[in-house]
């Protein structure tokens, strides 16, 4: 297969399949959660569950001071990774063009120099995340094969994107194809690993926040 044919598969059939698995997989996962339902709370409320739920979806994004003090490196690294990853994904001009082509939505991007730097930062944050996972007794204890798989499929798109942009390792066309395939791998794997948290975290925060709001407690 030539590099061109490879790229055209990655952009065409490959992408369509991956997207389908991603969308239906995630919808299935969310359905699996929501279909379980929950009983209404019969206790007299002190506050609004809805307000608590909505508030917690937002506020849980920031750590509490007491928590931050114990694990500053892990927490800052988490921010660097998430912000870096989302910026590279959503604010790189060629990616925006893709979203525009597929969904008809576009928005302003960041200069490529900044995206390139953010890509490097994101790669380093992932390497640090792995180092922490391998050295912290708690993280080592908790980690399963699925955690390492999720790490790998998250790293690959960022890494191959960086290599393609900087014309490293492989000819551009081939590396671009590898990059797109790695994104497809991420999309296929995501619904079956902890990467589901990219959507389900809102439900989790909502449920805890709802209950806290009802009771009039912090969350």
């Amino acid at each position: 297969m030539t590099a061109d044919a490879f790229l055209s598969f990655a952009r065409g059939t490959g992408f369509d399949w991956a997207l389908t698995i991603f969308v239906f997989g995630m919808l299935l996962r969310l359905f699996e959660v929501l279909s379980l339902g929950r009983k209404p709370d019969l206790s007299e409320g002190r506050g609004s569950g809805v307000q608590g739920g909505l508030k917690t979806i937002v506020t849980r994004t920031l750590p509490r001071a007491a928590v931050f003090a114990r694990e500053p490196v892990r927490i800052i690294n988490g921010y660097v990774f998430h912000i870096g990853f989302l910026a590279v994904l959503f604010l790189y001009e060629p990616h925006i063009e893709l979203f525009d082509a597929k969904m008809g939505l576009s928005w302003p991007g960041l200069p490529t120099g900044i995206i390139n730097a953010l890509g490097v930062l994101t790669i380093f944050s992932l390497l640090l995340a792995l180092a922490l996972r391998l050295t912290s007794p708690v993280l080592k204890f908790l980690s399963t094969g699925s955690d390492y798989l999720a790490w790998l499929v998250t790293l690959l798109p960022v890494l191959t994107g960086y290599l393609a942009y900087n014309h490293m390792l492989l000819p551009y066309t081939a590396m671009l194809a590898v990059h797109i395939l790695s994104v497809e791998l991420l999309m296929v794997v995501a619904p079956f690993t902890k990467l589901t948290h990219m959507f389900s975290f809102m439900l989790a925060r909502w449920y805890q926040g709802y209950r806290a709001g009802h009771r009039g407690v912090e969350s």
């Binding site: 339902g37 007491a66 948290h197 209950r211």
Partner: protein, 427 residues
């Protein structure tokens, strides 16, 4: 344990899994932040005490039963079913190594209510016969005698006689139409009768009528702690029946953390209907009295003191400002611990841990978290609003040769009451 009881346990855990629990498992990224929030992990350094690990058997049941991918994995033999050995191994983590303090729930970045998950997994462990003996005994006594400590009505009557003899005040039993139905914890009847006297004096000053039910005076709920909802519901029902029969407007949960959340928030859900009376923690009642000018005190404490927030009150019950406002009436030398209010650290004895003798050593290790908070402050007196915290704190302080008296807030306020003879309702 027979495989039949293990099957029952698994079935019960399966029944506990609802949309919130499923969303929590779907969202956990194994970041480990909950470990740092847990006094059992922080003080032992043992990663098994990482809160989310305590519900690992529940996670496996969820994945295998409620997710397509998990079912495929199970069919292909890629995942192992929860078995008797798992119950054996996790029992200690689920009961001894968790005081249901809820600190982990508050720090989880994806919003998982981990302590609620542990509360729920206990339902499966209890039904499978994997609950600690101490807690089983306490629960049995609660059902049969009406008190987890085996305190009978006669013991309460004796305390009421002492109260009359010492102060001339009465604690009226079964008085229909009273403003308040006062619940007590066994610990208060046996170890801290000062609480009863404080209530009698405060109610007299406020001009409120109150009563204690001879049929349902116990506030604590062992059913909630061990994780048997049927028993928890029965214990709640006793209080509800008493309150409705006596026609009271408000039921007062005493200085206890879990008793409050059990009757206030879990109760209606356990018995399947809302109440037609209010439930308030004693601190909420006192705060109301303060705001209405019904609580008059004189003099201030001179000791440097701090307040130990009972976990269930701050993290699950929302009673945070009341104790601080009330303390402000009687002391100018109040200092906060570094982590306080909703970020307070547990005493180590909550969630049934103090009723579980087997957990003693672990509990005293966990207490070191509280010790370090206190060492940092160097206070003369520790105030709290939970008899169970109080006894756990007293034990821990004693074991560490720390000479810090522990006082109940209600009792401290009563010590400062302005006595106005002739004023206030007869009780």
């Amino acid at each position: 344990m027979s495989s039949a009881s293990i099957e029952k346990g698994i079935r019960m855990i399966r029944e506990q899994i609802d949309a919130p629990i499923a969303s929590f498992f779907s969202s956990c990224v194994h970041c480990g932040m909950c470990a740092d929030a847990c006094h059992f992990y922080v003080q032992t350094g043992d990663p098994r005490y990482t809160p989310i690990n305590k519900v690992e058997p529940m996670r496996r049941i969820w994945e295998q039963e409620y997710t397509l991918w998990g079912r495929i994995k199970a069919t292909l033999g890629l995942s192992r079913k929860v078995n008797a050995q798992d119950f054996e191994a996790w029992e200690e983590l689920v009961y001894d190594g968790c005081s249901l303090c809820g600190r982990c729930s508050l720090v989880c970045p994806v919003g998982n209510d981990i302590s609620d998950m542990i509360r729920k997994i206990r339902e499966g462990f209890a039904v499978a016969g994997h609950a600690p003996e101490g807690l089983v005994g306490a629960t049995r006594r609660a059902v049969e005698i009406g008190s987890p400590m085996g305190v009978r009505l006669s013991a309460l009557e004796a305390q009421i006689r002492h109260l009359k003899h010492d102060t001339g005040l009465d604690a009226p039993l079964d008085q229909a139409g009273a403003d308040y139905l006062v619940l007590l914890s066994s610990m208060e009847i046996m170890n801290f009768p000062e609480y009863l006297e404080a209530i009698a004096r405060i109610m007299q000053q406020a001009g409120k009528t109150w009563t204690i039910s001879s049929r349902a005076f116990e506030a604590t709920n062992s059913g909630v702690q061990i994780g048997v909802s049927d028993i928890a519901a029965e214990l709640v029902q006793r209080v509800v029946d008493a309150a409705e029969e006596l026609g009271v407007k408000t039921v007062i949960s005493p200085e206890c953390g879990h008793a409050y959340t059990a009757i206030r928030f879990e109760g209606p859900n356990l018995i399947g209907r809302p109440y037609n009376f209010r439930v308030q923690h004693i601190l909420e009642v006192l705060e109301e009295f303060r705001q209405q000018g019904l609580l008059k005190t004189k003099g201030k404490e001179t000791d440097r003191m701090t307040f130990h927030d009972p976990c269930q009150l701050v993290r699950k019950g929302g009673v945070i400002e009341a104790p601080r406002n009330l303390l402000g009436m009687v002391t100018d030398s109040f200092v906060e611990m570094r982590d306080h209010a909703e970020m307070n650290w547990c005493c180590g004895g909550g969630g049934g841990v103090s009723a579980n003798e087997r957990a003693d050593e672990l509990k005293s290790k966990a207490f070191n978290q509280k010790k370090s908070q206190l060492d940092e402050l160097g206070v003369d007196t520790l105030v709290t609003a939970c008899a169970n915290c109080r006894i756990t704190l007293e034990e821990g302080l004693e074991r560490n040769d720390m000479d810090i008296p522990v006082i109940g807030l209600t009792e401290m306020l009563a010590d400062h009451l302005v006595e106005e003879p002739g004023k206030g309702g007869e009780t």
